[in-house]
Subunit: 136 residues, 2 copies
DNA sequence: CAACGGATGTTATAAAATATTACATGAAAA
DNA sequence: TTTTCATGTAATATTTTATAACATCCGTTG
């Protein structure tokens, strides 16, 4: 089984994800409602998150703390499905996404000009894609 | 945070562990009752398993399928706390345990002489410590 | 300024998942 | 045969999660 498969397996209930990300259930559900994440569900409709879901939530949180709103985060995460802006050369989709993220981030920050106090919650920067922050 | 810490974090509820290991809740609880595992608990007393817990359960399952009983598994996993048989040279505890496991396993299999149909459930061998078997 | 909308908190209620305990059972051991 | 071990099953309580509605704080906008 590939590492990719492993990172996409639905493993964690929302309670664990709350601790892993320091987000409230309300926030996580709200982000899902706005299509920033699509966690799997159990037969009984309870959410089950993968490592990738958790990583994405950490990215979302970082962007929130930088003052982006949902629309901005969608841009950064390239969740703007209609007429996706294609890059000329096709790199691996993962790498491409990261590149785009940084580019769009600058653009968006400039666009939005100001951002509220960035480290409002006293949280340091997160190392994305590493699930490096755990527990309280 | 070290990899060891990561593997010891309580993350999975019993329902997920059931799927990861193909064990029933009854079996998992019974093994806990017999001190083969000590999963963490939530505030509400619900079990939370780490990667290491899951790996251990996979080991237990493999031994069960080889015909060992709880006492035998305790021996193999070196959970026989009183008067632990010390090896002369102190290797890393992980490596030591693995060595002992294989040695004791042969000894125990010989001791118990016969073992019921080993692959009763049609399950292949497990790669221990790798969490390689997932889902149904 | 007042109204509005976005992001989140809070509360209520229902449903799902898990815990514990007791009893049942098949097979192996004594 | 009678026990014992490992597991199944059923009943009941508790915990966790889901959903929905309403509240609140705070920028933005008319």
């Amino acid at each position: 089984m590939g590492d990719d498969t492993r990172r996409n397996m639905a493993l964690f209930p929302i309670g664990i994800v709350m601790k892993l990300t320091d987000l409230t259930a309300r926030q996580i559900r709200y982000y899902e409602q706005n299509d920033l994440i699509q966690p799997a569900r159990t037969e009984g409709k309870q959410r089950l998150f993968s490592f990738n879901d958790v990583d994405r939530l950490l990215e979302i949180k970082a962007l929130i703390e930088k003052g982006l709103n949902i629309a901005g985060i969608k841009q950064v995460l390239q969740l703007n499905d209609p007429t996706p802006v294609q890059t000329e050369i096709t790199t691996t989709s993962e790498t491409k996404r990261k590149e785009m993220s940084d580019k769009d981030l600058h653009q968006l920050l400039r666009q939005q000009i100001m951002y509220r106090n960035a480290s409002r919650h006293g949280e340091g920067a997160l190392i994305r894609g590493e699930l490096s922050r755990f527990f309280h």
